[in-house]
């Protein structure tokens, strides 16, 4: 339907805008799930699907840790173990972490935050969800084939991925599955960029958009550049495997390094695609819970933009040990990323400084993010230096580093986001006691699992080994790590229980349970079709706060 805004009688500042909405048929249940073009329904589809992906990949991770709990273990065979870590990585990155934030929360929240009635291309939006789900199912179905799923690690270095080294349909399904999620990502990016550029409410200038929306915008631009490169790399790989090509095949003059260059040119922006939206979540939660504006709002956006830009020029820091890349160039750019990330940290502290902080579950998860991402960031600075990377590359130190960034960082922030926006999505609060218990268990389990892995890496334990010699001094640390993994699993399960429990039993939330600041708290919980019946005037980046606290506007100057 076409949306038309009524012309108000008088031009008052507080004049509510009525939107004339002609309701079409309103499907329910399964039909709604399949056919809906509503950004909120599609967002929920993404959120639920990606969370299922999280649980599935988490289960694979428990399998990995069970295999490694003692040396010379035979819980799974070598081949199955390789499939476990490959699919754990692939699903976590392409199905959970990315789509959960940029497609799930992005779809649900961006139109709400900028005062738009829906996404710019609603049916296209629905299509991208189906491609995403298809990708998830196709890559997971690799487990059902004779040779099993893909087993060469989530970045599938050629020539190991060539047909002679990895025969069978599992690898093909991995390629098809990841490519489908890639296309879904490109479609979502087009959709969200268009929405942000053309569907903002009057007065919502770019520099009044919430930091979350800015971060999503930068993420989408990264996605738009990164995924086509990945798709091209996959096309070449497909030609190699099935059409007798030799792009990555060294025996016929191909270049294995080409794959690494192409893959990481996608892969490093991808890392920030997995991080920037979560920075946005943390920013929103910290500001709301501290009852203060985001400190250094413009600096924050500048930091986001520079992280986005720099992330496109650092891909080869994953390839230091190949001996075929320009070390100083990539080391300099990689180290530089620490600067805008540092700015973000100080801005987050500034946001909390002298606020009145409500220590609820959402805030605790975001603080967990801050501490763990800080640690992951520092180990990142270590790894950005080629000389130290020569020592630590592909050891468990790397594993620990990126789990501190991706799990302790992004996934914690994602869980915080669930606790924060669940009331908006369902109309009910999540249970606080269960939530805090979940946070505590997850925090302990996570650190128990991944902190010892730093030491394992320093002691020289390579990643992706299926078993290890008992005499290497790795036994105790691996045992601790595995126990931590089980505890972390329990922590996640507590949140899952909470999700179901609160859906029926949760306290009724009301429209604005947290005294929120951004526009999504201006509409009802859950929001009606096409979102807003009236918009508050938009005079800063937190219109709802301005409307609710007219005497506490943001101070200008310093």
């Amino acid at each position: 339907m076409t949306l038309i805004q009524d012309r108000p009688e008088e031009h008052l500042v507080h004049e509510p805008v009525l939107m004339e909405i002609v309701p079409g048929p309103r499907p329910r249940g399964l039909v709604k799930y399949i056919t809906s073009t509503d950004h909120k329904q599609i967002g929920l589809n993404y959120l639920v699907t990606s969370f299922i992906g999280f649980l599935f990949a988490g289960l694979l991770a428990e399998g990995i840790r069970t295999q490694l709990i003692v040396p010379n273990n035979h819980f799974v065979t070598e081949s199955v173990y390789n499939q476990l870590f490959t699919m754990h990585g692939t699903i976590m990155l392409f199905v959970f972490l990315g789509p959960f934030a940029f497609a799930g929360l992005g779809n649900y929240l961006i139109p709400l935050m900028i005062g738009a009635p829906d996404m710019a291309f609603p049916r296209f939006n629905n299509l991208s969800y189906w491609l995403y789900l298809g990708g998830f199912l196709v890559m997971s179905c690799g487990f059902l084939t004779n040779n099993g799923a893909a087993n060469f690690g989530w970045f599938g270095y050629a020539p190991l991925t060539e047909a002679i080294h990895s025969p069978g349909p599992g690898a093909d399904m991995w390629i098809i599955g990841v490519a489908l999620t890639g296309f879904s990502g490109i479609f979502t990016a087009v959709n969200i960029i268009t929405t942000i550029f053309t569907l903002r409410a009057p007065g919502m200038v770019m520099f009044r958009m919430p930091v979350f929306v800015w971060n999503q915008l930068v993420t989408m631009f990264l996605l738009l550049l990164a995924f086509p490169v990945l798709t091209a790399a996959f096309a070449l790989l497909w030609i190699d495997r099935h059409l007798d090509g030799h792009f990555y095949d060294p025996t016929h003059g191909g270049q294995p390094i080409l794959w690494q260059n192409l893959f990481w040119f996608f892969g490093h922006p991808e890392v920030y695609i997995l991080a920037l939206p979560y920075f946005g979540i943390v920013t929103e939660v910290l500001a709301t819970m501290s009852k203060k504006p985001v400190f250094g709002y413009k600096g924050m956006i500048g930091a986001t933009l520079s992280i986005g830009a720099l992330s496109m020029g650092v891909w080869a820091h994953h390839m230091y040990t190949t001996g075929a890349v320009l070390l100083p160039f990539f080391a300099a750019l990689s180290l530089l990323i620490a600067v805008p990330t540092g700015i973000k940290f100080f801005n987050w502290i500034g946001t909390m400084w002298r606020g009145t902080i409500t220590l609820n579950t959402a805030f605790l998860f975001c603080c967990g993010f801050l501490v763990m991402f800080l640690f992951g960031g520092i180990t990142g600075i270590i790894l950005a230096q080629p000389v130290l990377d020569f020592q630590l590359h592909n050891t468990y130190f790397i594993v620990a580093h990126f789990h501190y960034v991706m799990f302790g960082g992004s996934a914690f922030a994602g869980l915080g986001g669930i606790y924060y926006w669940y009331p908006k999505m369902t109309g009910r609060m999540m249970d606080e006691r269960l939530g805090k218990l979940s946070f505590l268990v997850l925090l302990i389990g996570f650190n128990l699992c991944f902190f010892p892995q730093h030491d394992l890496g320093l002691r020289g334990m390579p990643r992706r080994i299926e078993t290890y010699n008992a005499g290497m001094g790795w036994n105790f640390l691996n045992m601790i790590s595995s126990i931590g993994a089980y505890i972390a699993g329990i922590g996640v399960l507590l949140t899952v229980i909470n999700l179901f429990y609160s859906y029926r039993r949760g306290q009724i939330a009301g429209d604005n349970p947290w005294d929120g600041q951004t526009l999504e708290w201006a509409c009802s919980s859950p929001p009606p079709d096409h979102n807003f019946e009236a918009l508050p005037p938009i005079r800063s980046e937190r219109p709802v706060w301005d409307a609710n606290h007219p005497d506490q506007l943001t101070k200008v100057g310093h």
């Binding site: 390789n82 001996g323 600067v339 603080c367 600075i381 130290l388 320093l458 002691r459 020289g460 992706r464």
Partner: protein
């Protein structure tokens, strides 16, 4: 700076094995530089977070409305410029260290070809002598008896030519604090000058297929005289297969 480094951090290994090559000095120096900056900054940030959580949390009966400040340009400029300077310093040290660690000598004392394959290692010496070991000889992960051994002289520059014919492997010895990939089509060359003789274990460090975890080897670093004696005993073109009795 130097005083801080030697007094506080001089004896720390941060859990890693002490390096046994001449590169150890540079690696250790970089660790120290990084820690000197990272630890205080990390503590400041961590302290800030914890302080905010404790000091400014809402307490019952304490209804305060916070000041709605948003910008403080001097502070923001400070925490932009200071990290930039620190990054520049770290990069400077790193650049220097990198040139030493990656340097290739013109006239190495010994040049050995290290070939990785699915799944095993072949070490070829200048006279054509080969030391080979495959996963088939050692499928028990807990035994080190039948692993291929790379013999190296201590105190001399040993040049390794890293080659592979099938997939990508990585030559990695934790005690050398160094690794380099064996990439088909690209012949990497690395130099090691091991100071401390001993027996070290190494492993392939890049997923290379099913038996990746079993692709291990040993490095026997011997004093020069001992190495020369060993080398003299190896007939040109002979092959020693690990776990298989030597045939002359």
């Amino acid at each position: 700076m130097r005083a801080v480094e030697t007094h506080l951090l001089g004896k720390t290994n941060f859990g890693s094995p002490g390096g046994v090559t001449t590169q150890d000095h540079y690696v250790r120096q970089l660790w120290h530089i990084t820690y000197v900056f990272a630890v205080p900054i990390g503590l400041i940030v961590l302290g800030g977070i914890v302080w905010c959580m404790i000091r400014y949390r809402v307490r019952p009966g304490h209804d305060r409305t916070p000041s709605q400040f948003q910008y403080h340009i001097p502070i923001e400029a400070t925490y932009t410029i200071v990290p930039l300077v620190i990054v520049a310093i770290v990069f400077g040290y790193m650049y220097n260290a990198e040139n030493h660690v990656d340097a290739i000598a013109k006239n190495p004392a010994v040049a050995i070809t290290v070939e990785g394959f699915q799944w095993g290692w072949r070490f070829t010496y200048p006279n054509g002598h080969e030391e080979v070991g495959t996963v088939a000889n050692e499928l028990d992960i807990n035994s080190n008896d039948n692993l291929p051994v790379l013999f190296m002289p201590a105190g001399e520059t040993v040049q390794l030519h890293l080659v592979s014919d099938d997939v990508i492997h990585t030559f990695y010895v934790p005690e050398f604090l160094f690794q380099r990939d064996l990439i088909p089509g690209i012949n990497n060359v690395v130099d090691f000058n091991v100071i401390k003789p001993g027996l070290y274990s190494g492993q392939c460090n890049n997923i290379c297929g099913v038996y990746h975890a079993y692709m291990r080897f040993l490095v026997q670093v011997m004093p020069v005289a001992e190495y020369n004696a060993w080398y003299a005993q190896q007939p040109a073109g002979s092959i020693t297969t690990a776990g298989v009795p030597a045939q002359s």
